[in-house]
Symmetry: C2
Subunit: 328 residues, 2 copies
């Protein structure tokens, strides 16, 4: 147990009430200058440090944002974590990091977020059942689904305009008169994977170009194994569109290992524009997700809801941009 000094000790030494001590440190409520000076002198003498817990109980608010993340091996997400931490720090908020191994966020993690009475929650690549999300709503804790688009209109979500982006990728690939193509999905219960397929499929259908779909899981190993499966099944597509960059890198490595020339024999396109996409070993053509803009939208919404809770919901989509490199 740590040696400690609390507001009671300060009040006793200063000869004032405990609520006067609270008012000096937290409230902004009126307190006479004389009382203030007595309290500050006593606090200094005792080394009193009013902490977040006392502040939280008195103001009934916290400065913790819960951030839930699963796919730490996809460099997109550590980058997202960094940018949220940096951005919230400017406003005095800290990040409680919740990692989940499951697709769906677990009960113990929900308990943690509620126990800490977090000011807001960001769900990145995990899923959350709607009745759990309702528990946050009941507690007036604002929630953002990040890099996800919801089918319900009950919660705020921020993601890239995946439909538009994948349409443009398909237009780029078909403009050169290519043959049959392959789409490699991520986890199929994600809006990102579904919408990237949908936009891609729409354009290909319009132009009468067939495509084959392979189901994968948004990981490097998943992309690698899927490309090997594709080759072993005799599929020789003109182009492969992988639902994220890290899978696309696995696809490139698997194709090269089998002696397939990129882009001469097969073109490869990813999605995200992670740092590695620009490495000389890959030079991957991809779609850049505008992380800055996505983070700003999320932070602004959460701060506004923390300031005055409305529970308003919206599906925000930002555009991003096509990045052409050497794999196409």
């Amino acid at each position: 147990m740590k040696p400690t000094v609390n507001a009671k000790d300060v009040a006793k030494l200063a000869g004032v009430s405990q609520s006067s001590v609270s008012r000096v440190f937290f409230d902004g409520a009126k307190v006479t200058e004389k009382t203030r000076q007595k309290v500050l002198a006593a606090a200094q003498e005792l080394g009193y440090r009013p902490n977040e817990y006392a502040r939280s109980l008195i103001t009934n608010s916290t400065r913790i944002i819960g951030l839930v993340m699963k796919g730490i091996h996809n460099p997109f997400y550590p980058q997202v974590l960094k940018q949220f931490t940096t951005s919230f720090k400017k406003y005095g908020y800290s990040i409680l990091f919740v990692h989940t191994n499951n697709d769906e966020i677990q009960n113990e993690d929900i308990e943690t977020l509620l126990n800490y009475n977090v000011a807001g929650v960001i769900i990145t690549d995990a899923t959350m059942s709607m009745n759990v999300a309702e528990a946050f709503k009941a507690n007036h804790i604002p929630l953002v689904f990040f890099n996800r688009k919801l089918t319900t209109s009950d919660f705020y979500s921020v993601c890239c305009n995946n439909l538009n982006a994948s349409r443009k990728i398909a237009e780029f690939l078909t403009a050169r008169g290519e043959g049959p193509m392959v789409y490699i999905s991520g986890n199929e219960d994600t809006s990102t994977s579904r919408e990237r397929e949908q936009g891609f499929a729409e354009v290909l259908e319009q132009r009468g170009i067939p495509y084959q779909k392979y189901t994968s899981d948004f990981t490097y190993d998943g992309g690698y194994e899927t490309a090997r499966r594709m080759l072993s099944e005799g599929d020789a597509p003109a182009a492969v569109f992988a639902a994220n960059d890290i899978m696309a890198l696995g696809v490139i490595d698997a194709l090269r290992k089998s002696g397939v020339k990129i882009p001469e024999q097969v073109k490869v396109v990813g999605f995200d524009n992670i740092d590695m996409a620009s490495w000389p070993a890959y030079q991957l053509t991809t779609w850049e997700q505008p992380i800055d803009e996505m983070v700003d939208e999320t932070v602004n919404y959460l701060l506004s809801e923390i300031d005055e809770y409305t529970g308003q919901a919206q599906a925000v989509e930002v555009e991003g941009s096509f990045v052409e490199r050497s794999t196409t």
Copy 2:
């Protein structure tokens, strides 16, 4: 502001004192069964959820571990973050994630950790001045420097035995009768970079093999640029030992871009064994840092110090193992 129910409301409805409510939820202290039932019934009726803040103020302890990290772009660290989060969750502890852009952890971050009265602190790749570290000691907050070895014996640190590891790397490279070599350092104020050079240099000197040192920064771009500088200065070493894997990948890409054959003309060795080291595009020979063991040492120490603070310090070193792949 959130609608809220506090212990006072529960006490009022139950017709008991506030401290009875506290005892029911937190203390383990004695309370009559009759009182307990009254409190639980009132709590249920009001939907009272005793949160971490109330618990913290009453027990004077928290279940938050502050984790300070800088280099989120090096995949080694997201992996470390994931393993700490998973490991601490088993014991009911959560991770407050503190990201710093500076080498030295900033005052505002120290304030955050102290304000949250964290149960323990882990400093990964950031540095902390000793007088700041003393502030944690004064508050009986245990501190671990992770992947760092301290020159003082005042604080606990956990890292790989970098001296032994780099000696073995040098022995492996010199056993094949190679010519002059290159060491690419990370940030030079880190024990990891210094000790990896020291062990490497010792063995090379014993065997009369010269080496050239280039200073870099533990990043992919740093490795890439350093290799280009090396080539432009006419250095054609038999082998390059980069102080971490992500720099080694940059070295490989730069050498290949200039048409240098690996390992035929230049051998490359890294350090960490991140996932990417085993990717077919790289197949990097490296030293595996035993993250599991390093995390266990850290978690066990912190839990023991949280249970009963001793302030004991030790520099723990774990061994790890050499991983031979295709770049040597």
